[in-house]
């Protein structure tokens, strides 16, 4: 048994290494999120603090540890036979769609 000498009284750094504005813009782009200019410094601050905080994980020795793949030991995702089980309910589902025509979801033109 080993002890990290950790406790739940985390010391949260008030001056974490700041992500750059460009990094935040890049993350937002990858996540397909349009941010308002005023949101950028807020996320710059809080995401930097979060990554600093989760850096605590480096203190654990995980050299010979397998990553957890399922919360229940020995279980994995079940497969089912590849057969049709659902009936066609597209009209019901499409009632929630912002824009539909002839049973198709409409989006701005993709190919010129």
């Amino acid at each position: 048994m080993y002890d990290f000498g950790l406790s739940f009284a985390f010391v949260v750094s008030s001056n974490p290494m700041l992500l750059t504005r460009e990094q935040i813009e890049n993350i937002a782009h990858l996540a397909r999120l349009a941010l308002q200019p005023a949101e950028l410094p807020v996320y710059q601050q809080s995401l930097s603090a979060i990554f600093d905080f989760v850096g605590e994980l480096d203190r654990a020795d995980t050299a010979n540890v397998a990553p957890m793949a399922h919360p229940l030991p020995g279980l994995s995702q079940r497969l089912r036979p590849d057969v049709v089980t659902e009936t066609d309910r597209h009209e019901v589902y499409q009632r929630n769609a912002p824009q539909v025509a002839a049973g198709l979801y409409l989006v701005p033109k993709v190919i010129e």
């Binding site: 048994m1 397909r32 999120l33 941010l35 995401l47 603090a49 979060i50 957890m68 229940l72 019901v92």
Partner: protein, 486 residues
């Protein structure tokens, strides 16, 4: 008669004995929901007409001597359980126009057992929050002091049960979202083993952590609901195919000889001194009931919060990719092109905390960072899980506080996400390891409820409910109702 002070078991008995009808009950609780909505904001959608016609049907069943185990009994669903033909918002602007085309398995099962849905409860947006302040529909207020938060993310369900607006409500727990609000509102909340309750139709946040459960006034009522909502479901690929025990049958088993582990790390710095006193007093009651106490250490447990804030956002960023403004949910006006449609629909539809978690998850999964964050966190999760396994080779259950402090003021922690995240320091471990856990009221500090947390090995819900029920036979904390709602 004050129907709202009765337990589900008493209400069911009264229905069968024709002391009152289901319509009486449903109307009575609906009136309470409406009367206290301006104060508590516990609900997002109230289903008066549907509930009353379901109650009329239930009365006909009951009159004919039929009806399931929950026939005619009122319930509320957290607004992330899909309900056919009813608005299902997940507390978000993104889904504020979403009418679900189907019922979640939990909703269908409780309906089949005879329960009547009165309303959809308010919650943190996409279940991401510990105070109910991230809801697009405004914060829920704590019935014990309306200047305070009820906890989250199942704050609407917890506040509603605490104020006796409904006898029981469904809830979900990804990092503490059943137990933490149950503790802060002084009610009983059960987060079952991962896979015990179907996640089909539960709007996903973090799929390896999310688990549906129940909040009720008593452990016996929670057992009654849990028995009906649990069980295998082919529609959920992580649902576990194991028989559901009769949770009601084992409630009164004596606790003599039960080995209770006290988590050393839970009684460390950070725990409010008054909270600790209430927990120690509760533990003394367990000792008197014949249980033995022993300190155990889970050395990796302090890493559960950082591990969670990698794993949960990673899964969230992936799950919430489906909200793209195309098939359902909010769509931005006049998009220039497809990319603009995606980005503005998501930027406008999601609130600040949801965006923060999506970006956190996107970053930890992005090229070059996967090993350092996500893989590392999943390894730490394995260590935490092994710690629990070792502890359960020595003790039957673990006990400790559910939260470090009682309820805090609305607005007190919104500016610093990490301070907010640390509300869940005692609850997250059970999610990472997929374990069942519950919170029960064990006293008050300065007029605010304190919750005792009980954690057990996989599929030990029956043992947890037994420990909680026997405690509730000895104490009356679970019967306390804030004065203005009594």
């Amino acid at each position: 008669m004050k129907i709202h002070t009765l337990t589900l078991a008493q209400l069911s008995k009264g229905l069968r004995a024709r002391e009152f009808s289901s319509v009486d009950l449903v109307r009575g609780f609906l009136d309470r929901i409406d009367a206290h909505q301006p104060t508590l904001n516990a609900m997002i959608t109230v289903m008066r007409d549907q509930a009353l016609s379901a109650a009329e049907a239930a009365d006909r069943e009951l009159a004919a001597g039929r009806g399931g185990p929950l026939a005619g009994l009122p319930i509320v669903h957290k607004d992330l359980f899909c309900t056919e033909g009813v608005l299902t918002t997940c507390g978000s602007h993104m889904l504020d126009n979403f009418v679900s085309p189907y019922d979640a398995t939990v909703v269908a099962k409780l309906k089949a057992a005879g329960a009547i849905t009165l309303a959809k409860s308010n919650m943190d947006e996409f279940a991401m929050g510990s105070s109910n302040e991230t809801s697009y529909f405004g914060p829920v207020r704590n019935p014990w002091n309306t200047d305070l938060v009820p906890g989250g993310s199942s704050g609407g369900s917890a506040a509603a049960v605490a104020a006796r607006l409904v006898p029981a409500a469904t809830a979900t727990d990804t990092g503490g979202s059943i137990r933490q609000p149950a503790a802060l509102c002084g009610v009983t909340g059960v987060k079952p083993t991962y896979g015990r309750v179907s996640r089909y139709g539960m709007i996903a946040f973090a799929s390896s952590l999310d688990q549906g459960g129940v909040i009720a006034a008593t452990a016996a009522d929670a057992a009654l609901i849990l028995r009906e909502m649990s069980g295998f479901d082919a529609n959920d690929s992580t649902s576990v195919d194991m028989p559901v025990p009769d949770y009601m049958a084992g409630l009164d088993a004596p606790l003599a000889g039960m080995k209770i582990g006290l988590l050393k790390e839970f009684f460390d710095k950070g725990l409010d001194a008054e909270n600790e006193k209430r927990i120690r007093e509760a533990l003394a009651i367990y000792e008197r009931l014949g249980a033995t106490l022993r300190e155990v250490s889970l050395p990796n447990l302090p890493l559960s919060v950082p591990a969670y804030y990698v794993v949960a956002p990673a899964e969230c960023s992936s799950n919430l990719a489906r909200f793209d403004g195309v098939r359902f949910g909010h769509r931005a006006k006049d998009p220039r092109d497809l990319m603009d449609l995606y980005k503005r629909s998501r930027g406008e539809g999601f609130g600040a905390e949801v965006k923060r978690r999506i970006m956190t998850g996107t970053y930890v999964l992005s090229a070059g960072y996967y090993d350092a964050y996500y893989l590392k966190a999943q390894k730490v999760r394995q260590l935490i899980s092994a710690d629990f396994k070792r502890a359960f080779s020595e003790v039957d259950v673990l006990m400790g506080p559910t939260t470090p402090t009682p309820a805090f003021p609305i607005g007190a922690k919104t500016s610093d996400p990490i301070t907010m995240y640390l509300n869940d320091i005692y609850t997250i471990g059970a999610n990472l390891a997929g374990l069942p856990a519950m919170s029960i009221p064990c006293g008050f500090t300065a007029g605010l409820p304190v919750g005792l947390q009980i954690v057990g090995p996989h599929f030990s819900e029956g043992k947890l409910l037994n420990a909680a029920h026997v405690f509730q036979r000895e104490t009356d904390w679970h019967t306390r109702v804030p004065e203005r709602f009594s």
